[in-house]
């Protein structure tokens, strides 16, 4: 899943988040193991030095005001057994004055008083080498002339380092191996986990053409739950797009066919007009040409109105009653011309959530329909009523109305109740669309005693 320019790939992110903390944890663990090993090695050496210094002290026995040193050869051999790891020792009395030993050992650095019979452990350089030393001081002699002797043993710190190295080798090497193994497992696991996504990409990536087959649902087998959820979401979207694309295609197809008819009429009438020599007949032809052109213009306008309806609309509070009166005023000159009494009867103000352009379009269609189909001498009345149940907009006419069989078809696209010229069967479909966009309901009812009522109803919840 490469995503150039969109941040790290999923694989890299997972590797980073899994391996980086793991590495840090291992490093911290290693450092800790090293410290612990060092500590244990030091403790072991210190213990052996303490034992040695006490043992050596026991061999030096005070006799009166002197010292009897009973240091058998065997004991000496044990102390000096390892030539590389020789234990150095020194007995001095008073402290600092060499009495016995195999090397001159340095005095402790600090001058704090050394409590008797207590072993003190410290580090110092002996002949240029780092050593660990144990020191023990003992009092002897008569109470009136007390004397003090000091016993010191030292061992090279090389031993400690060797011991540490051994301990570390025992702990760190398995740790490193474990880490390498874990990293491999993580890497393989991520690759395996991402495989369904790669399959998804492979399925979608090859769909480049804009045909309906490109919108077929994705089929995934053996994919984990999350990928299935993603695929399902994409499938739902694809299905919705496919449905809407199908509708658009059907609509476009219908629309193009509907346009053919007036265009065919236009062409034939114009051709006839061009061959006409009689002025009166020419005039009649041209009148028909004008009617055909107006019909085409009307159809295009209606199609555009429907197309505009397809896009998202933003609803804002507006006064439906004022809007209805405003649109009705615009239609008044045409109503007077057609001999229709167009009027408004309803509340002064009614607030709804709406989009003025779309509502104007719906009102235009309702009034246009009513004026066209009601005919001269009829009444067309706009009503806006507000109640607890919501707001209702109604356009009622006293024309012939629709038969009971025809009422259910009134909102269908391209359905026409009469063969009256000029109509294209989209007016009420537009009204229904506008109502749908406003989450309002649209309804046609017979008017009493005759005529048609078209209602748009906003429920109180809106």
């Amino acid at each position: 899943m490469r995503q150039a320019g969109h941040g790290l790939s999923l694989r890299r992110q997972l590797l980073l988040w899994l391996l980086l903390p793991q590495l840090v944890l291992f490093l911290v663990g290693g450092a800790l193991a090293y410290r612990i090993a060092l500590n244990y090695a030091e403790k072991a050496i210190d213990q052996s030095l303490t034992q040695t210094v006490r043992a050596l002290a026991r061999q030096v026995k005070p006799v009166g005001s002197g010292l009897l040193i009973d240091f058998p050869r065997a004991a000496q051999d044990i102390i000096e057994q390892d030539p590389k790891d020789r234990v150095s020792y020194m007995v001095s009395a008073p402290p600092g004055r060499f009495l016995l030993g195999n090397v001159q050992l340095p005095q402790p650095a600090a001058n704090q008083p050394q409590p008797t019979s207590e072993v003190r452990l410290y580090n110092a350089q002996v002949q240029g080498k780092p050593m660990r030393l144990a020191l023990l001081e003992l009092d002897y002699g008569e109470p009136q002339s007390p004397q003090r002797m000091r016993v010191q043993v030292a061992q090279s710190r090389v031993v400690q380092e060797r011991l540490t190295a051994e301990l570390i080798a025992d702990v760190l090497v398995p740790l490193l191996l474990l880490m390498a193994l874990l990293s491999l497992l993580v890497y393989a696991g991520i690759a395996r986990g991402l495989r369904p996504l790669q399959r998804l990409q492979a399925q979608l990536g090859t769909r480049r053409d804009a045909t309906l087959s490109a919108l077929a649902p994705i089929e995934l087998t053996q994919a984990p739950q999350e990928v299935h959820a993603l695929a399902n979401a994409v499938n739902q979207l694809l299905a919705a797009v496919q449905r809407s694309l199908g509708q658009e295609k059907r609509f476009l197809n219908d629309a193009a066919h509907q346009l053919r008819t007036p265009l065919a009429g236009l062409i034939s009438q114009t051709e006839l007009a061009l061959t006409e020599s009689d002025a009166q007949a020419l005039r009649e032809r041209l009148t028909k040409v004008l009617a055909g052109a107006q019909r085409s213009a009307h159809l295009v306008h209606q199609l555009l109105a429907l197309a505009r309806n397809e896009t998202e609309v933003k609803l804002e509070p507006l006064d439906l009653a004022a809007l209805a009166r405003e649109v009705a005023r615009d239609w008044t000159p045409r109503a007077i011309q057609s001999g229709v009494d167009l009027g408004y009867d309803g509340v002064d103000h009614a607030n709804v959530l709406g989009q003025a352009t779309l509502l104007r379009e719906a009102l235009n269609n309702l009034i246009d329909n009513a004026l066209s189909y009601a005919g001269s001498g009829c009444e067309v009345t706009l009503r806006v009523q507000a109640s607890d149940g919501g707001v209702t907009l109604e356009v009622a006419d006293t024309g012939p109305g629709l038969s009971v069989q025809d009422l259910p078809h009134a909102f269908e696209r391209f359905w026409r109740a009469s063969d009256q010229p000029g109509g294209c069967g989209l007016g009420l479909a537009i009204v229904a669309e506008v109502a749908h966009r406003h989450r309002a309901s649209a309804q046609v009812l017979p008017n009493a005693p005759h005529g048609l009522r078209v209602l748009m109803r906003w429920s109180a919840a809106d």
């Binding site: 213009a297 555009l304 009166r325 005023r329 000159p333 007077i336 167009l342 352009t357």
Partner: protein, 237 residues
């Protein structure tokens, strides 16, 4: 009647507009581009402009901006093939006085243009306006004086009658709502309160009735439009 500039790049429509507007008595100048229109506007005085928004090079909107900086009061009616809300709002904000979406009926264009010209003449220039009527009894109003005549006879009008009449005349052929009327009314002497105070629909009806009587035999009628308002119309065919 009026000196008009038409700016439209489509030859068929330009020709149709020019011929039809000339037929009803306007003197018409046509331009096919914004550049042409700019030079004409700099050298001639027009009463009104019909402007297509979809012009090549200098767009109609640019031309409208240019025009508004120089001739603030010139009535402009824009023609557009797009009828989305944004386009309309943009056009009206840029200073257009009215708009029409293509295709349109020529009668609609003439009505809108006529209303624009009447409105621009009456209040802005304080000019006088005459409505076509029966010979000898023509109604003429002058916003500056203010005074109305029927033929050569001055018409006696109260302040409210004058406000009502001038509103109806400037909007002749269109419906004037009750709210529109009440907005223009000042309190009569002896009445308290602000514009339209305490006016019932009956009171408005009384004034309409009086005006109707004064306009008798002029061929003009104030038509009552059910629930919508009033419209001044010509009863002569």
């Amino acid at each position: 009647m009026a000196h008009l500039l038409i700016i439209e790049d489509d030859e068929l429509l330009r020709d149709g507009l020019s011929a039809q507007l000339s037929q009803v008595g306007h003197s018409v100048v046509v331009c096919a581009s914004g550049e042409d229109a700019q030079s004409r506007l700099q050298n001639e005085r027009f009463d009104g402009v019909v402007l297509d928004l979809g012009l090549p090079r200098i767009s109609g909107m640019e031309l409208l901006h240019w025009l508004r900086q120089r001739l603030a009061a010139l009535p402009v009616l824009i023609l557009t093939a797009r009828d989305s809300m944004e386009d309309r709002v943009q056009g009206l904000n840029a200073g257009a006085d009215d708009y029409l979406t293509k295709p349109f009926d020529m009668s609609e264009l003439q009505a809108r243009l006529g209303a624009l010209l009447r409105r621009s003449r009456l209040p802005a220039f304080g000019g006088s306006l005459a409505l076509p009527s029966q010979a000898g009894r023509q109604l003429r109003v002058d916003a500056e004086l203010p005074q109305a005549w029927l033929g050569d006879e001055p018409l006696e009008l109260t302040q409210r009658e004058w406000a009502l009449l001038s509103l109806l005349v400037t909007n002749a052929g269109r419906v004037v709502s009750r709210e529109d009327v009440l907005e223009t009314w000042q309190p009569e002497p002896g009445e308290g309160g602000g514009p339209g105070t305490g006016l019932t629909s009956n009171a408005l009806e009384v004034y309409i009735h009086r005006l109707r009587r004064k306009l008798a035999d002029t061929g003009l009628n104030i038509r009552n439009i059910r629930g919508l308002g009033y419209m001044l119309e010509s009863t002569t065919p």
